[in-house]
Subunit: 551 residues, 2 copies
């Protein structure tokens, strides 16, 4: 490696109020983020941030992260495939599966069986030994991907490596490097060697650079060599737009926004120019053979996804989805793991249909969606328009959400945008975990709300998805340090506080032994006899019938 | 009036790319915002911003807005009530109803009948003649309220008036003045006289200030006088927490976050201290008589709304909702309009139940919810956590959404926060309008997406909810003026562009007369005969069966 990036350019050190710890299971060390509370309690959280947030770790981006997985056991190939899918089918529980089970707090057998049936994937290229294994599947916590990458117009290698570190710091479960500018290979190499999370790419982007941006000059051979180049570097999953068939392309002609997927339009241009079927489709078996060797996971791209509310759930989109279903079967017959990419722009009432069809057509392969945006009318706020759709589609069964930043449709995200995008999507993912009743998900909500109720401001900040911004906003109106323990806030001021009154209510209920509605009715009935005359004097209305509360 | 606010302190002038126009119907002038597009087309939008965005209007905050409604016809009282409800029941279509019908693009009879049945309300105090009438009901566009107001700790009158102008500029349909600090009366007077939208308050806040913040010293008489004081000023709707009954208070004792509604906890404290039923409940009939005279709309407060995911949909919440249902009947028997406030913090899977119960218990009175937040773990991003819940609850039938700003739980919103809150909630409301198939809602999405597809950047910005920020973000990576008309963007760069390829696809389809899937099959079938040998030579895979696209 050269020196386009120095260690000082990436963010290190723990998140405020948290410390890194590891669950130790044999030779496996599963990272956790422990939030230490001021009342002596703590909460351990799923941790995507790698050694960068470990105060005791020595970070050296030129050396890269330790290739930990190289020392793990690797079973023999099964039927030509050295993949988690092949091993899971053979009944083997790999180190990756055990690591994931501890990370998610589930039984290793659940991990194995979900992978074996193809309802979950573990993107873990053998050439990416720095990766801390993670799982994408509807039975597990909803995951978030953050796109990074330079373009012809912007950005440096150092900026992209920092974006990767920064995105995983705030909770990104995977990273996609979508670089399209110069130094694509080198940028990716720096990202791979320093990424604690799986990395995805769209190989056609680099292939296109090799033919100077002219899609008609693409060939299968050029593409294949690019895939192998990236496979050797350790890319864990690759988006392949093999479902964009020649026959589907004209179905987009009358759309409001045509083809908005970059990969989809590259392949459409190629198909039209050559009047041939996509080489991604005609050579899909060969691609599977390559993927099976490295254990690269397919992310079957939705090249014809809708780019506007008007185009949602249309014939072009679902025609492609059917083809992705066929390709899923082919990939799995090679022992290759598969997930399916989804839209895009979809109004709320059409979201559930996407999940239903995907599961029906693609054998419940994990769904991986971009948003979707619930409306088109808010450029500069599309992290929000899409968080609405993302939360809903995840509740319906989507396993991983690709983030959208405030710059969507307008430009490439900078470091701040990356953070906003990740935090916003952690909100969507966590909201879905709550709605799905994911085990333990609500523990964090409860801990934070309890801290809020007890005016433990510091704990409230530290339990938040973004402690720094929460603290900053609070300090804008209440800057003094004592305010962090004050039993009031700037909304109500010191004289009166609803939370304080609630504490009084609790004391009252305890002193009077009031726990259930029946207790309350009993007490009120007792007191009414004594107080009835007083009430009649005081007001023009008496209590409701006593059983109203139970009605 | 004194001079705590000068005209230069409020924002005036059109939103970038738009002009104000008026639909003229007899003596009624209904405002619209016309977005003028570069291709000669235009789109007219619902406009909440009042004269402030009219380039031809003379704004003078000391004089206040013109009392336009004073010159409209006002029918005689019906059964003691001078309310839109009483008149609607009597079959009268008022000027307010005609104004609203034109504004919403519906039949005046729909407005009348929805108001008559109590499924919609028109908050329009006779003493607020500056108000441009609007309607809140599930048959109409989903509305957004913005809370403003100073507290003991922060802010000036001028800041609050500007927040009102600023919030309505970005689309707030109503304003609530929740001031709790000094100068409450004077602050409200400045807001009322300058507000083009209905203004709501929570009178108990001011009543509490009058007893120096001690809830136990509150009395019915003090409260009544405060209500009349505000009624005389023209407050259009008032939150009344009359459903917080003594018997319900202990039901909150074992909650994670007790009572989080400020009004709810004030009344709970009063009930506990006096061991008497709430004076809001015992004097509810008298309150109705006052409201009927001014045509103030009840916003029956949910004083026991959940303040955390753990407390959602609990016994305390739904017990209060049942009482709000009873109070709804009483208010309507007095000819007074009613809407019902709703939560709060609710996980996604428990949202629909709130709407269902509210409609069942409260005769479908318009539901007016605060969010709800879909998770507790993201202070500083609660505009987003709550936009997820807000969009979903509006899709389920909520008529108005109370915004949440990024400062929720942390401090009071400043001007920037107000804008972010309003835009975020316009997203939620509009997403729900799309999902409900609200007539014309998708026109704006289509216009914006068409502009995006055709690289009319300026039109894309001007059609956005926030043209200024969209333009600013674009300019960060593509600052040069020519880029506004460039047929590419910073994401793909000039060499390649998916939107450009889509245009090629359209040309191809037109030239080959390909419109339907059948056309495409026919053409492919024709060409296959000629090209089959070529395909066999070129690849190892042929086309799919021709009917796959129709499967």
């Amino acid at each position: 490696m050269g020196t386009p990036v120095s260690t000082s350019q990436v963010t290190t050190g723990p998140i405020e109020g948290s410390t890194k710890r590891y669950l130790e299971i044999d030779h496996l060390r599963i990272p956790q983020r422990r939030v230490n509370l001021t009342n002596g309690e703590y909460l351990d959280l799923y941790d995507t941030s790698g050694p960068y947030t470990d105060a005791t770790a020595v970070i050296d981006v030129e050396a890269g992260l330790a290739p930990t997985r190289d020392s793990w056991s690797k079973p023999d190939a099964v039927g030509g495939a050295s993949t988690q899918l092949a091993w899971a089918r053979a009944g083997l529980i790999t180190d990756e599966m055990r690591f994931i089970a501890a990370r998610e707090g589930v039984d290793p057998e659940l991990v194995r069986s979900e992978v074996a049936i193809g309802r979950a994937v573990i993107p873990a290229n053998h050439r990416h030994p720095e990766c801390e294994p993670m799982i994408i599947g509807k039975a597990f916590a909803v995951k978030v991907n953050a796109n990074i990458g330079n373009s012809a117009v912007t950005s440096s290698i150092a900026e992209e490596v920092e974006k990767m570190v920064w995105a995983t710091r705030w909770g990104a479960d995977t990273i996609m490097d979508l670089s399209t500018g110069k130094d694509i290979h080198q940028t990716r190499e720096w990202i791979m060697r320093n990424s604690p999370v799986p990395v995805g790419t769209v190989p056609i982007y680099q292939a296109l650079e090799k033919v100077n941006g002219d899609p008609t000059r693409l060939t299968w051979e050029l593409y294949r060599d690019t895939v192998i180049e990236q496979a050797e570097q350790g890319v864990d999953y690759m988006t392949v737009h093999a479902g964009v068939l020649l026959r589907y392309v004209p179905l987009t002609a009358r759309r409001v926004t045509g083809i908005v997927s970059r990969g989809g339009s590259i392949m459409a241009a190629w198909c039209l120019a050559h009047h041939e079927e996509s080489f991604l489709y005609t050579h899909f078996d060969e691609l599977c053979e390559i993927f099976a060797r490295y254990d690269i996971t397919f992310s079957l791209g939705d090249g014809l996804r809708p780019g506007s509310i008007a185009d949602a759930n249309d014939e072009a989109q679902f025609a492609e989805l059917r083809t992705l279903g066929e390709l899923t079967k082919i990939a799995k017959s090679h022992g290759v793991q598969v997930m399916i990419e989804g839209p895009g722009h979809v109004p709320m009432h059409k979201i559930a249909e996407n999940v239903r069809l995907e599961e029906e057509l693609c054998e419940e392969a994990p769904f991986y969606t971009l948003g979707p945006l619930a409306t088109d009318i808010a450029p500069a706020y599309d992290h929000i328009t899409s968080a609405i759709g993302a939360a809903m589609i995840a509740q319906a069964g989507t396993a991983m959400l690709c983030y959208v930043t405030p710059k969507e449709h307008l430009g490439l995200p900078n470091r701040d945008d990356v953070k906003v995008g990740v935090i916003t999507y952690k909100i969507a993912a966590h909201s879905a975990d709550l709605a799905k009743g994911h085990p333990g998900a609500q523990d964090r909500d409860n801990a934070l709300s309890k801290a809020r109720f007890e005016f433990r401001w510091t704990d409230q900040f530290n339990l938040a998805l973004d402690p720094d911004t929460a603290r900053e906003y609070h300090d804008e109106t209440m800057p003094a340090e004592p305010a962090k323990t004050a039993h009031f806030c700037s909304m109500c001021g010191p004289k009166f506080c609803s939370m304080r009154i609630s504490a009084d209510v609790r004391t009252y209920a305890e002193e009077n032994n009031l726990v259930t509605a029946e207790d309350i009715d009993r007490k009120i009935a007792q007191e009414m006899a004594a107080k009835s005359q007083e009430f009649i004097d005081a007001g023009n209305r008496v209590y409701l019938p006593l059983d109203a509360v139970k009605a």
